[in-house]
Assembly symmetry: C2
Homo-oligomer: 136 residues x 2
């Protein structure tokens, strides 16, 4: 299995523009990309930070997973993503070791990467995303 | 200012041993260090992952910040930590740009690093820790 990096930490917010302006002012960081991922119902910005990224998520609609997260919890960290080389192998390993998979098979996420989510009940109440990345 | 890396993502849990066993089974990762940081009321384990770390936190007592977090929210992501070269300069920059500092001056955290926390209301409902690290 062996995830080889923390690919990103995702933060769910109400207003992507406002949060990006705050991040620029306070931390002098700016996004390297921004896109709408319709299948997940989010507009997302990726900020490179060392070998990892901050991902800022704004729901496209209240009736989406991130929209419902915001309604329940308010703004805050939403998930952590681990980079893996072979996502099918990773999913098989996780399932064989008792993890509850949200996605039994990979789907396409931001940046065109193959991704899959693992349920928070599987480890430390934390929603985990796997991201298949071959170039680090 | 410019944080230059995500130093770690911290996850608060009830049972550090159990979570470390799960992480070993499911993700084949193991801690590189484990220590009790009395001032913060936590026992913490650090797992290196690429250029960043997962930090797993168990409170030493229910009446600690992490103990109260667990009582309110249950297990889950507690904070994200950014590596900075000069923590005084970073705190001054954050204060000058409207951030609410929890620690006006640095204190000593895990690994002997100088650290400071920034209030979640400052950015995306997310508790941010600054960690002064000179060797990357």
């Amino acid at each position: 299995m062996l995830p080889y990096n923390i690919h990103h930490v995702a933060i769910a917010v109400h207003d992507l523009d406002e949060t990006l302006a705050t991040l620029k002012d306070q931390y002098t960081v700016e996004p390297m990309s921004r896109e709408t991922v319709s299948e997940q119902g989010v507009e997302e910005a990726m900020i490179a930070l060392g070998g990892s990224h901050l991902q800022i998520l704004q729901p496209t609609d209240p009736d989406t997973p991130v929209g419902r997260f915001l309604a329940r919890h308010g703004e805050g960290m939403h998930h952590v993503a681990f980079a893996v080389v072979d996502i099918e192998e990773a999913l098989a390993h996780l399932a064989a070791h008792g993890a509850t998979l949200i996605d039994e098979t990979p789907r396409i996420g931001g940046g065109g990467h193959r991704i899959a989510f693992v349920h928070p009940r599987s480890m430390g109440g934390t929603l985990v995303e796997l991201v298949e990345v071959h170039d680090g």
